[in-house]
Symmetry: C2
Subunit: 221 residues, 2 copies
């Protein structure tokens, strides 16, 4: 019975990683869409989000089945609850990719061409945080999990830079306000994406240490 | 043993309701802070957020204990998983109250006085959604849960109104851009607050029907 449970837990790990891979891919597409203002990529992200939604439901259903059938305790129980919560965060990261895609679609259709904030650094950091949070989960790597918490501050700093720059641009070019609001909102979506990766890292730390590190600082989501 | 489990589940219901009551109170304070641009109320929301964070951790710990000790199945298992997820949403609603408080603090310190978007309708709807989502959970009231899903669209509509109005104001008054961005972001925080209430309602429907209604439409968080 115990060996059968271990097999089931391995299966859950694989399921959440499959979901993670798809979510990573969507985030990567979203970043590409920002950089190239590409409405086609944006449309593909929006159209395919239902896949992530469906996988999230499957993962949760499977977790509930294992909980009911095997009634795990201690670390196995914590693992499954962590999977349920990480699952939730991954799905919401997928939603952020959709939100970014919607903004990009508006930017792509705009006639404004000369104003842009280079989000590549912020986006790369957020993407790394997501990738590392999943690696930290799979390898139960607590050092990597803590690194993610530190990176979240860097993402916040770039968000403030974007705010200052775009605010100045709004003053200079009031005719481009609609475009600039959408450009600004991309930074909010990237920030929330990074916050969800941070949630995953905190979940990993909790799983390893049994210690709650979340709320050490205010998360914005 | 089964009777003892029922007592534990009742206790969990009470715990999540206590947390819900505090979160409702903070949301109410946040709305009051918006309406009166009151920095003192905003400061109190920010200072007391740790109470919500601590309660969230307690609720999750208690759920894990009950899962490990009583190994519930079927509807009792679903109930506890719902509590864990609702707990998470409530804590994030608390974070939105903090986000609103931070915006209000900036607005209160600004020298701009003549521009404002009246968020009272949007705020009241979001507050009602939160209250009703908790009532729906306690009374397992599926009709009420579905009403919340409909209200979420109304909140989104007001968000669009705020966007249009504030965008126009930005064009007219480029000197007030910083103030107006913060005014705009309040609508995003209220929207996310309403989204979390919607998540709770969807969880309630799942609990009653065993049917997943989430992802029927794209949530923004």
């Amino acid at each position: 019975m115990a060996r059968f449970l271990q097999k089931e837990l391995e299966k859950m790990k694989k399921m959440i990683l499959s979901l993670g891979t798809i979510v990573e891919e969507r985030v990567h597409m979203a970043i590409k869409a920002i950089e190239t203002k590409n409405a086609d990529i944006a449309a593909r992200i929006i159209q395919s989000d239902h896949e992530i939604d469906e996988m999230e439901v499957e993962v949760e259903e499977e977790c509930l089945k294992i909980l009911a059938l095997h009634q795990p305790v201690a670390v196995d129980l914590r693992f499954l609850i962590a999977v349920i919560k990480i699952n939730n965060d991954l799905e919401r990261i997928g939603d952020q990719a959709v939100n970014i895609a919607e903004r990009v679609d508006i930017l792509a259709k705009s006639k404004v061409h000369d104003v842009f904030f280079d989000y590549s650094q912020m986006a790369q950091k957020a993407e790394t945080m997501l990738k590392n949070s999943l690696d930290a989960f799979v390898n139960l790597d607590i050092d990597l999990a803590f690194e993610i918490l530190a990176m979240d501050d860097e993402v916040d700093n770039i968000k403030h830079e974007a705010y200052d720059l775009i605010k100045e641009e709004m003053k200079k070019q009031p005719d481009c306000i609609g475009y600039l609001i959408n450009l600004l909102l991309i930074s909010r979506h990237l920030e929330r994406l990074a916050d969800h990766a941070t949630n995953i890292a905190e979940e990993v730390i909790y799983l390893i240490e049994g210690d709650i590190v979340r709320h050490g600082k205010a998360l914005t989501d």
